[in-house]
């Protein structure tokens, strides 16, 4: 869909060979305008500070500019950009283990980044604590799969593009990750007595939700 939008924006920009360079820069600009906000939100969700997220976005588009051929050839430029950002985040986080503090910072940081109705924020914050505590018990791979499906609302095929793997692998792994999240949420609920926040949780054995399409 994004690819179609970019092609529509680019119509009329064709020129002689001498103009190819300008046209390609213009195509990059079109993609940038259509993807920037989603890419920044993606980075915010994973760094939980706006300044870190802006750095990741800056690095992501710099890499995209250097790999312009690949960006322009990508079927889903947004998913391709998520993939680049994801690897940049991995490298940055690996060295400094900033994710260890993510849970404790998440709720505070959420209010730093976004402005929401106070009542909505409180309810969400309480649920956020339970969900993030459950997420923290999963492997990094499971967490990223679930974030891509829940927050970015990507299909298994798009997730496969981000993670540079095959859709069939993503489908199976996502199914298992969702089941593990359900198990972990039950454990957190029992420990914290916060079952009121994620009510009517299904039993893991019954967790047969359909994958997002």
């Amino acid at each position: 869909m994004l690819r179609e939008a970019i092609e529509q924006v680019s119509v009329g920009n064709e020129g002689s060979e001498d103009d190819v360079s300008k046209r390609r820069a213009s195509e990059f600009e079109d993609i940038y305008r259509l993807t920037y906000q989603k890419t920044l939100a993606f980075a915010c969700r994973r760094t939980m500070t706006m300044s870190d997220a802006l750095d990741v976005v800056s690095e992501t588009y710099l890499v995209a500019w250097r790999r312009l051929d690949k960006l322009l050839a990508a079927d889903e430029p947004q998913a391709w950009l998520y993939g680049i950002a994801s690897r940049i985040l991995l490298n940055v986080n690996r060295g400094h283990r900033r994710r260890e503090n993510l849970l404790s910072r998440a709720v505070e940081a959420q209010s730093e980044i976004v402005e929401r109705d106070p009542a909505e924020s409180v309810a969400e914050s309480e649920e956020l604590i339970v969900v993030l505590a459950a997420m923290a018990q999963l492997s990094e791979f499971d967490q990223e799969l679930l974030r891509l499906a829940a927050y970015e609302e990507l299909t298994p095929t798009e997730i496969a593009l981000v993670l540079e793997t095959r859709p069939v692998i993503v489908r199976g792994a996502l199914f298992r990750a969702r089941r593990r999240l359900a198990h972990a949420t039950l454990r957190v609920d029992k420990r914290t007595g916060s079952s009121g926040h994620i009510h009517s949780e299904k039993r893991p054995a019954d967790d047969d939700e359909e994958l997002p399409q």
């Binding site: 390609r24 920037y36 250097r66 940049i88 490298n91 069939v168 692998i169 359900a182």
Partner: protein, 245 residues
């Protein structure tokens, strides 16, 4: 049962930052970044029509080579992303995986710690804590995919290539470089960007990778420390300023 009552539904509802809650492409930061990027020269210049013809010829030769190789069922591929090694728990692309810890070789052995530490367990193959025979294949993206098996036809059966031995040395070299850089950045506390850039430059040259680019973003008072990111595809090491932890 309504999906919103499930754990996954709860995760969806608690999206900490929605897309429309952050600045868009018209924000001052976004416009400034775009201007800066467009002013950055690209290393890969556009190809001329003559070079395109050459490229077509090269591609044709390459295609014939691939067909020939495929016909003999020996499919080799270079390990173009040696810093990514994925360890599989079973001979199945759908099996659980773990990332290999830093190591000095881009081979199947890099996954041994994941088995020893029981990050990966498969009682059907070996007792927990034991390391099974490991076979390395090359995934579509150029990363190494390692499976627990002594069957040398595993890669072929999974539709993956085998590592091209001629690229092993350079892949190992990148792996060693990355291990040394991780050790350096983790052991020295807060390293200023200038100092880190000099060190990385020296270490890169020591590994015979003087042609690699080192790109450092300037540090700021809020971000006085350096971290790094390595991109073998681009032959570039990025030095990234981060806050003091």
């Amino acid at each position: 049962m309504k999906p919103e009552w499930t754990a996954f539904g709860a995760l969806r509802r608690t999206n900490p930052v929605r897309d429309n809650e952050v600045p868009g492409a018209d924000s001052p930061e976004a416009r400034e970044l775009l201007t800066r990027i467009l002013a950055t020269p690209r290393e890969q210049e556009l190809r001329t029509p003559a070079s395109r013809r050459k490229l077509r010829l090269v591609l044709a030769v390459a295609a014939i080579s691939v067909i020939t190789i495929a016909a003999t069922w020996i499919w080799l591929r270079s390990i173009s992303i040696p810093n990514a090694i994925i360890c599989y728990q079973a001979v199945d692309l759908d099996a659980d995986t773990a990332a290999a810890p830093p190591s000095e070789t881009a081979t199947g052995d890099a996954c041994a710690p994941a088995w020893e530490q029981q990050t990966l367990v498969n009682p059907d193959i070996v007792p927990p804590g034991s390391v099974p025979p490991l076979v390395a294949c090359v995934a579509e993206n150029g990363a190494l995919a390692v499976f627990p098996s002594d069957d040398t036809t595993v890669c072929r059966r999974l539709g993956l290539a085998e590592p091209d031995p001629s690229t092993q040395e350079s892949a190992d070299n990148v792996r060693v470089l990355e291990s040394q850089l991780i050790e350096y950045f983790q052991s020295e506390g807060c390293i200023p960007v200038d100092e880190a850039t000099k060190h990385v430059s020296r270490v890169t040259e020591d590994h015979g990778l003087a042609s690699w680019a080192i790109e450092a973003q300037p540090e700021t008072p809020e971000r006085p420390c350096a971290s790094f990111s390595i991109d073998p595809d681009l032959e570039t090491i990025f030095i990234i300023p981060i806050p003091e932890s």
